[in-house]
């Protein structure tokens, strides 16, 4: 029998993989991919809580849709930033984004 804990385990594992990707990758696009994995993990948890604890309501799914909306806006702006930085520096590595360091 699959319980809420199984879904939470999958979500937690996915979140930690995404966190590792976001922290340890050099390419800015790969960092954004890690953030997307983390947002997906949160969505799994929201829908699982909704299904197991409050099956009569859809509040968890509503929140998941809001997360998807915010993720879409975030990734559009983030990739636009990456493209613009690439045009100035000819590089998309986060190690070299040192404009604030002096």
């Amino acid at each position: 029998m699959i319980t809420l804990t199984h879904y939470l385990a999958v979500g937690g594992l996915l979140f930690c993989i995404g966190l590792f990707g976001a922290l340890a990758k050099k390419n800015a696009i790969a960092v954004l991919m890690g953030i997307e994995l983390m947002l997906n993990a949160v969505n799994i948890n929201l829908v699982a809580f909704n299904h197991f604890l409050q099956p009569a309501q859809v509040t968890g799914q509503i929140f998941a849709i809001f997360v998807i909306v915010v993720a879409a806006a975030e990734v559009a702006v983030g990739l636009a930033l990456v493209i613009n930085i690439y045009r100035r520096r000819l590089d998309s590595s986060v190690d070299d984004l040192d404009w604030l360091k002096w």
Binding site: V10, I17, A24, L53, P55, Q61, V69
Partner: protein, 168 residues
């Protein structure tokens, strides 16, 4: 039926986790982007198992469709040099691994000793209908704000990607 559900759950969980690991650990960022699509599809399958069919459709459309295409576009517009080694780790990967593992251990311990208290009830007959009533009822204002956020995000992305005047 429960046995089938269990089997499908494990299959989808393995697909999702394995392709997420492939996203992080593969050397070629194009392959990472393709495995990202597989992760999103696996997540959509989990949503279907959780009786959230509408959300699964949204997931396929928005994540596996639009966001994946955005990622591939960004890779195409920014890549130069050797594509086969285009997704390296940076200098803090050891610290990042320790932090992620520690976080996972904490999450596992916390969820393992928790007992969840829920309210029993019948799921709504029509998922789409229930979501529509929620969006146009109690969640109407956040719904409108989300629309404004998407518009602002889109316009901002265009402005940022195009750059200012006289930069070319």
């Amino acid at each position: 039926m429960p046995e089938v559900n269990t089997l499908v759950f494990w299959l989808l969980a393995i697909i999702t986790i394995a392709s997420a690991l492939a996203v992080v650990f593969l050397k070629n960022i194009v392959h990472s982007a393709l495995y990202l699509v597989l992760t999103f599809v696996g997540t959509a399958g989990l949503y279907i198992l959780l009786n959230a069919e509408f959300l699964a459709a949204v997931q396929i459309l928005v994540y596996a469709g639009a966001i994946a295409v955005l990622f591939v576009f960004a890779v195409m517009l920014t890549r130069r040099g050797d594509i086969r080694a285009s997704n390296p780790f940076n200098v803090n990967y050891l610290a990042a691994g320790v932090v992620s593992l520690a976080l996972f251990v904490i999450i596992a311990l916390a969820t393992g000793r928790m007992t969840w208290v829920g309210v029993s009830g019948q799921p709504p007959k029509s998922n789409v209908g229930a979501i529509a009533e929620a969006f146009l009822g109690p969640w109407a204002i956040p719904f409108e704000i989300a629309a404004v956020l998407l518009l602002v995000g889109m316009v901002g992305a265009i402005l940022v990607a195009r750059g200012g005047k006289g930069e070319e």
